[in-house]
Amino acid sequence: MKKLLSLVLALALVLSFTAFAAADEPAKITVFHYMVEGNKQAGLEAVEEAFKAANPDLNVEFENIAYSQGTDYWPQLETAIAAGDNPEIIMGNPGLYSSLIEEGFIKDLSDNEVIKALGLTSGDMGDVSYQGKWYAYPVDFKSWGVFYNTKIFAEQGIELPKTHTELLAVCQKLQDAGIAPWAQWYADGASVDIEMRPIVWTKALQNGDNDMFEKLMSGEKKVTDYPYFEEGLRVWGERMTGWARSDATSNKQTDANEVFISGQAAMLYQGTWDIGSIENAIAGSDFEYGFFLCPTDDSGSNPVLNVQVDQAFMVNQKAEQAELASKFMEFWLTDCMGLWSDKTNQPCITGATTENTPALLLSLLETKASGNTACYGDFTAPFSSAFTSAYRKALTAWAVYCCTGTEASGVSSVETCLSYMQELFDEEIAQAAL
């Protein structure tokens, strides 16, 4: 009897500990993201800390899981979810993750009052939409253009080019002075893609071809039906041919940053997402850089700013702490945009600034506010991962030909590049029908 009593008491004690532990266990919010840059990870942590500080009554903890960037993110995310991981917050633009939406993972935010109150444009919201519904919280935006070494430009007496012809003249002048004009990174698919966007996106939207990507993916239209691709390849080809370094087609983003920052090349065509990395790399040095939007014609008018939502976050409604995750995201959008921008050097989608916001970000925000923009979100649908991959393969072949003179996949002219691109698109369309 004594033994039984001891056993019951011991069991009660263990159970009470378990219950106590369960009651005290913090609510965990897991964030899947592809922000590999240290400053963005630090920014996320800072926002999380701010959320905890602002909500002392909530017992919450965060787990941030970073995946590698680019086209590898989706496979890794998909595998994790298929294996049973159920994160609360998933970074990404919804149009690229349609299967997650169709399988009911992603929360519909169409009626979200916090997002509505931000008063964002249709272009901004298009990037976080899928089939007309909002599925993600947009945080900041990205664009691309030319980063230039101000010291080299000053020493060579170079004015900022206003036209495409002037830009080519700058390249020639630098080349003649024994300075490589460009630090290029065409081994990276993002690079070849952003070189084309100022023409392809801008011209397509200006001409009302908002459904261009949708029609290319369905096979209703061919790339040759849109002259912007031909023009984009020609103009970009002129920027490349004649002054490519020997590492142009084997460099990736970080390699090109090193070439630029070390002064081995005067210009770098880069996305604004990397401002933070460049700032970190030059900290403590006397290196100075400027930025201008790449002129793509000879009209002399102000180039249009391409805008695409960069950091956007979806809430997984199948996750345990989905409601808390929504609360966190809303806190981020309303209370932490300045903090995020300061930590990451990213321009906030809401236009939020602080006294620390650098001039480059202020100028990007000013241009965006002026409306002289071409927003990816204004297209009816984005290119899917498969089409993006096919598109980038064709563009890479064009870069290889222009930089090295070597034919890749039969690409040796604008026409053959367009033909190869269409062949790859047809391949995707045929596979989709299987």
Binding site: E78, S389, T406, E407
Partner: protein, 294 residues
């Protein structure tokens, strides 16, 4: 006659016991292999006859042999097989060449040779990504700077040999160890007898060393062939957007994950597995015949 029967039975019983004992030792490995490899592979086969898109989707309608028909007639799948075979041949040749050369140099026991073996084996322990970054610098910053030429990783007609060299740098140490183990088993008496008979070093190498280490060639060829045919990591790091560097394993990965065509990728994986099994069998049998002749 009658006297021999009980002894035969006894022998048979002992043989069965030995087999059973051996099986017991193998059982954990067989179980683990079945759970981790065999059963998932078999479970995956039916998906190749469906039009399953994303792996998070639960919808996979049957579409018969459509995926297989598509792949067998598809230019880019065939191209990926060509790249894979080309890469595998170059990688096998270079790994065996470097591995065997190094083994001949340092197979004798000495402290210096032990250090050398460790150094040459080290690349095998580094991650592919780290190796790829190192070689990117070698090709761009050393080769490119010295010669003024474009890095082979940036040229479609040089990317496969460039990747084969990177992969053989990584795996030559492994091949070397297998060759060293084989070289150390060749009886010294053979060389002594050959020397007495007047055979020179070259003749000893051709008629004694090579025939005695054929099993090491078999092992290396089998391993390198399998590793080469399923190469994925290296091209995915250095040739993601270059069609001329796309191996079949990359085609499979892209189809299943990046492109949301899981069933197509599954069918491609099955075709590659069949090719791998058939080729490995042919090569291994051919080499084993040489072993018997030796």
């Amino acid at each position: 006659m009658t006297n021999t029967l009980p002894s035969r039975k006894l022998k048979a019983g002992l043989g069965a016991k030995t087999h059973l004992g051996n099986l017991c030792f193998l059982l954990p490995t067989i179980l683990l292999f079945s759970i981790v490899v065999l059963i998932p592979v078999i479970q995956g086969i039916p998906y190749s006859f469906t039009s399953w898109k994303s792996i998070v989707s639960t919808n996979h309608p049957y579409n018969g042999l459509a995926n297989y028909k598509y792949l067998l007639g598809n230019k880019y799948f065939r191209m990926s097989l060509k790249v894979t075979f080309s890469f595998t041949l170059q990688y096998m040749f270079l790994s065996m060449l470097f591995g065997f050369g190094l083994a001949l140099l340092i197979h004798k026991a000495s402290s210096f040779n032990n250090v050398c073996r460790t150094i040459f084996f080290l690349p095998f322990t580094t991650s592919v990504t780290a190796g790829a970054i190192i070689w990117s610098y070698v090709y761009t910053d050393i080769y490119g700077t010295l010669t003024g030429l474009v890095s082979p990783l940036g040229l479609p007609n040089q990317i496969v040999p460039a990747m084969a060299l990177m992969a053989s740098w990584r795996d030559m140490g492994y091949a070397m160890l297998i060759f060293i183990a084989a070289l150390q088993t060749v009886p010294k008496d053979y060389y002594e007898a050959a020397t007495v008979e007047g055979a020179n070093v070259w003749q000893q190498f051709i008629y004694i060393t090579i025939p005695n280490i054929v099993p090491a060639f078999t092992t290396n060829v089998t391993l390198l062939l399998a590793w080469g045919l399923r190469t994925f990591d290296l091209p995915s790091v250095v040739a993601q957007n270059m069609q001329e560097g796309q191996t079949t394993a990359m085609y499979i990965y892209q189809s299943i994950f990046a492109n949301n065509k899981a069933s197509l990728g599954q069918a491609a994986a099955i075709i590659l597995t069949i090719i791998l099994i058939v080729l490995t069998q042919i090569v291994t049998r051919a080499l084993r015949r040489l072993e018997v002749e030796a």
